[in-house]
């Protein structure tokens, strides 16, 4: 590759050794950064928080490519200096979206070498199950049980490999920006130029809308009403969820009335504990989706489930959507 090609590659894949080498050979002083790089970095962050950075990876101009390339480490430094976890999350997902677009049209051998650079063990188009599990995408279809696994390796198609690479990149980026670089604190002034739209936090303590419950809670609630025996984890998850969406204590206790070993006093104690009336005094949250999966309580996750980390997030999102669309017809309490 000539320098121009190397630069184009590095703009697309700024996490590679090649990209790092080019940046280091540019001998950039982070104490006295060229304003061009700073402007591009701020622009990059702002584009990332809106969905994904737009890069000029096919430019013929070294100057343009260099600015795009250098904006990656500079934006990372600026974001890492922020205490705002929402900004960090948006930055990572924006970068991941940009990367995914390049990967989709990339040649197979490049995908392979990028995977290897990110620590994914891949041999002859097959990924070792351990790497696969480490970066497994959240969709149900990616579960190990559906994979073509033989002698420790999984035959993966292109889109799966793209997802694995993107996840591996996101993890690495998350960890990079979780540490503040020493001696570069002065760059935090540029955080003021980052504009991030925060969705208004909504009050979802209105009337409880069971239609907006995530599939796991719908199932648990249905099971509880049908008198199906629920284990401890299932009871806690359901009770904590109902407490957090604002259902009355008495109504929550009623939910568990059909349980074979129902004990009103004990149930009330547990519910009040979750509400924070007993014990530590703070309200308990339902388990995260990851925990729910571990407990075997995640049933039929749908598309919205992919984007949330806690069953409560699902409910919030649904309510937010409903409020946004101005759906009427909800009974007021």
């Amino acid at each position: 590759m000539n320098y121009l090609d190397e630069l184009r590659f590095s703009v697309k894949y700024p996490f590679t050794e090649l990209a790092k080498r080019i940046v280091s050979e540019m001998k950039i002083s982070f104490d006295n950064l060229d304003p061009v790089f700073i402007d591009r970095a701020i622009q990059r962050i702002n584009q990332d928080v809106k969905g994904g950075v737009l890069l000029n990876a096919n430019s013929r101009l070294t100057r343009v490519l260099e600015a795009d390339l250098v904006s990656f480490p500079v934006s990372k430094i600026i974001v890492s200096l922020s205490p705002d976890s929402f900004l960090k999350k948006k930055f990572v997902s924006g970068e991941a979206n940009a990367l995914r677009k390049f990967l989709f049209v990339e040649k197979d051998e490049v995908l392979n070498s990028l995977a290897l650079e990110l620590g994914i063990k891949i041999v002859g188009g097959k990924v070792h199950y351990k790497s696969y599990l480490k970066f497994i995408p959240p969709d149900e279809s990616y579960k190990l049980v559906y994979q073509d696994l033989s002698s420790g390796y999984i035959r993966v198609n292109r889109s799966t490999l793209v997802e694995l690479i993107t996840t591996a990149f996101s993890r690495k980026l998350e960890s990079d920006i979780s540490r503040k670089p020493k001696g570069l604190e002065h760059l935090s002034v540029y955080l003021s130029e980052v504009s991030i739209e925060r969705k208004q936090s909504i009050n979802y303590s209105g009337p409880v809308d069971a239609d907006a419950f995530p599939p796991c809670m719908k199932k648990l609630l249905a099971d509880a009403s049908a008198g199906v025996h629920l284990g401890h984890n299932a009871r806690f998850a359901l009770a904590a969820f109902l407490v957090n969406v604002g259902l009355d204590e008495d109504k929550i206790i009623d939910v568990f009335r059909g349980q074979d070993n129902f004990n009103e006093r004990l149930t009330r104690y547990h519910v009040e504990y979750i509400m924070g009336k007993k014990g530590s005094g703070s309200k308990r949250l339902p388990p995260s989706c990851d925990k729910m999966k571990v407990y075997g309580l995640c049933f039929n996750p749908d598309n919205l489930c992919k984007r949330i980390k806690n069953p409560l997030g699902y409910y919030k999102a649904k309510i937010r959507r409903r409020n946004y669309h101005g759906s009427k017809g909800m009974a007021e309490r």
């Binding site: 351990k130 559906y146 073509d148 033989s150 035959r155």
Partner: protein, 367 residues
């Protein structure tokens, strides 16, 4: 005489004569011990196997378990302060997972049902699919009603909980058949026998079943009615050729019937085990080569699973006679069929220990 006191004396004598080989990196493991329950105390740690064996001789718990996990500070509490470094991969098999009524005195054939699951895991999954070698798969008899598999290879050590859950879901065949049989346009596509993972298993099992002579047996294995089976048999050649090439619409059955057939196939091929033991990295598992307080049998290393006979090979106590009182007539198996009549009598020590541990006899103090 208090049976527990008597049992602990017997165990103590055993531990005095036999050193328990400690697990690798013993100083990174958490231990739990019990007399009343399986685990009365946990958060114990031993710096080496001398410390462990001294504890067994002097404190003599009836049950001792250790962590599959390695910790920086195995004795620290709460759990988070231990700082988990890595963990072995564990599979736990129990009679409770393969039968609804677990007998107090299991017979060899009861334990064979559990063993079948162990063999299934090793031969259908761990070796062909995950690529483990036989040497990496350590099998132990639990000392009572099951088996454990420990995998201590580097490859499993830093796996997180989610990965372990995916592995246990995989081997138990927890799945939705919709991801195997798909409608593409007007055609139904399914897996071919040459594929890896469950895809290949399902296709091969289906072909196997179709080659059976008996429609009744086919109907049982596929979980469908005889009329559907007969329709399949009528077009058998086309159906078999279709499955071999991944085109599953040569059979006169709908997509939904395929789903229910798949469900039946998978139910028989998935491994029945205790999922939580694999997933929960902080779980304590019975210490290999220790005695089990419910039986006085040893947590034996199983070198050859085909020939291993738990109710013979895990016996460690002597054959000299000791006095016990047996309240009820017993017909059990331990090192052979044993018919024990009620009343005070002298029984071989290994049998006396077994019965006392199970509450089937009371030790008699003649000193």
């Amino acid at each position: 005489m208090d049976p527990k006191v008597w049992l602990r004396d017997e165990f103590s004598e055993y531990y005095k004569k036999h050193k328990v080989e400690s697990p690798p990196m013993i100083n990174r493991r958490e231990f739990g011990v019990g007399i009343e329950k399986k685990i009365d105390y946990r958060h114990l740690s031993f710096k080496d196997d001398n410390a462990l064996n001294a504890y067994l001789r002097i404190n003599t718990p009836l049950y001792i378990s250790y962590s599959a996990a390695y910790y920086e500070f195995p004795g620290a509490t709460p759990m988070i302060a231990k700082n988990l470094l890595s963990a072995d991969l564990i599979f736990d098999f129990d009679m409770g997972d393969v039968m609804s009524d677990v007998p107090k005195f299991p017979r060899p054939e009861d334990l064979d049902l559990v063993k079948r699951e162990v063999v299934k895991l090793i031969e259908d999954f761990l070796i062909p699919d995950f690529g483990f070698s036989k040497d990496e798969i350590l099998v132990f008899f639990s000392g009572s009603k099951g088996y454990h598999i420990h995998i201590r290879s580097d490859v499993v050590q830093d796996m997180d909980q989610r990965s372990r859950m995916e592995i246990v879901d995989y081997v138990s065949g927890i799945m939705n058949p919709r991801f195997f049989v798909k409608v593409v346009g007007k055609s139904i596509r399914g897996p071919t026998p040459g594929m890896g993972g469950w895809h290949g298993k399902i296709a091969r099992e289906l072909l196997d079943t179709l080659s059976l002579g008996s429609p009744v047996e086919m109907s049982r294995r596929l979980g469908i009615g005889l009329s559907v089976v007969n329709r399949l048999i009528e077009r058998k050649e086309q159906v078999v050729a279709g499955i071999k090439s991944g085109v599953w619409d040569q059979a006169p059955v709908s997509k939904n019937t395929w789903y229910s057939i798949l469900q039946s196939i998978v139910a028989g091929r998935g491994v029945k085990l205790d999922r939580n033991v694999t997933i929960d990295m902080a779980r304590l598992i019975r210490l290999p080569m220790s005695l089990h307080g419910d039986s006085g049998l040893i947590v034996a290393r199983v070198k050859n699973i085909d020939t291993f006979k738990p109710l013979d090979d895990a016996i460690v106590f002597d054959r000299d006679y000791v006095p016990v009182d047996v309240p009820r007539n017993l017909n059990i198996y331990l090192g052979g069929d044993q018919e024990i009549r009620p009343g005070e009598q002298e029984l071989p020590r290994y049998l006396a220990v077994y019965l006392v541990a199970k509450g089937g006899a009371v030790p008699v103090d003649r000193s």
